[in-house]
Symmetry: C2
Subunit: 189 residues, 2 copies
DNA sequence: AGCCGAATTTGATTTATATCAAAAGTTTTG
DNA sequence: CAAAACTTTTGATATAAATCAAATTCGGCT
């Protein structure tokens, strides 16, 4: 199974030599958890990057006691507690599985080591980060100046089946509106 | 001058070998332009990355005929028309100098070539993108759920002197509010 | 220096969305 | 399979910020 996943990932991002893949494989953990499992808890240091093989996860943080959803990941997507992982600060973000999932877990230090050792892995890392960066860029554009209705339809275009996996409140939070507003938007079309 | 700039950049992001630096230098253009110069015009393909040595620039796009500011860059920061540069699509974004500036210009294809050839340059590229990604991440957080007032003070914390360089309307647009609202916020403290 | 156009402020009004509250549906689970 | 515990919907009201409009201030230019 791992070989198959790696094939898929490298096809999407960039090709790796067999040597690099072999070294990489030594450090990959394949894990299976139930819905609701917390992969990262708030205020903990985290050095893990996750890849959702099957299932889904969300990252969120708390503001004034309310849950704010930061990120979703579905099949074949990466997720991490972004400030915790990249800035090596205690994480403001939690990561929680939103369905029973099979995931891959990578350790930052191992990935850094691989990036230092293998040029192709460094490129691979850059591609992954570039994709995350572009996703964030898109979100900024629609968060900056669009109505609740536009945000919702933009999200649906990106993730047409999101409502099958994620509760309404989390979706609303992700696009920066309340769940009541989202419910009303949905009601009228 | 170029040597000094390169020293500064590599210190901030990651160290490069002399060989890499030499090859890189062959492809760097140092340019000087007046305030108001458009580095990237809308709907054009763009393959340039810019570095502001002295001065400032903004990226913006139009929505319903209104200018929406996407990005600012000041001394020692990078800027590009992000979707145009990374996705190789015609750019939705324009880049305009907001002051008389001295800038460096890099070409995507040359940078790609350097990244392919030199492992250290690949790492350097990754670091630059990572920084952009983290900036975007911060913006998402405050655009998602905060008041006009919070956004303004967050921005001031990041760029304390921004008001000396950038007109109020552009600042307001960057944080997703109207300039009238920003003016009122400023009036009351 | 003083004029003109641009940028900013101030005022009145409207509007989208938040908030608070309660009812109706859905899952989960013992 | 019923009770409990969430989730979603619906309703009434409040509010932050947008919009529209005009007045004022600022800053570059001859």
């Amino acid at each position: 199974m791992l070989n198959e996943i790696i094939k898929k990932i490298t096809e999407e991002y960039s090709v790796l030599s067999n040597e690099t893949i072999d070294k990489w494989k030594e450090n990959i953990k394949v894990l299976e958890f139930k819905k609701g499992t917390q992969l990262v808890k708030e205020e903990k240091f985290t050095n893990k990057l996750y890849f959702i093989y099957k299932g889904s996860a969300k990252a969120y943080h708390l503001k004034d006691g309310k849950i704010i959803t930061d990120w979703f990941a579905f099949n074949n997507e990466f997720i991490c507690a972004i400030t915790g992982y990249f800035l090596k600060e205690p994480s403001e973000h939690c990561i929680e599985l939103t369905e029973n999932s099979i995931i891959l877990e990578f350790e930052r230090e191992k990935l850094t080591e691989l990036s230092n050792k293998f040029h192709d892995f460094e490129r691979f890392s850059r591609k992954i980060i570039t994709k995350i960066m572009l996703q964030l860029q898109k979100r900024v554009v629609y968060l900056q100046f669009s109505t609740a209705n536009e945000r919702y339809h933009f999200l649906l275009k990106e993730y047409p089946k999101i409502e099958l996996h994620i509760p309404l409140g989390d979706i609303a939070s992700y696009i920066g509106i309340t769940q009541e507003t989202l419910s009303r938007i949905r009601a009228k079309k």
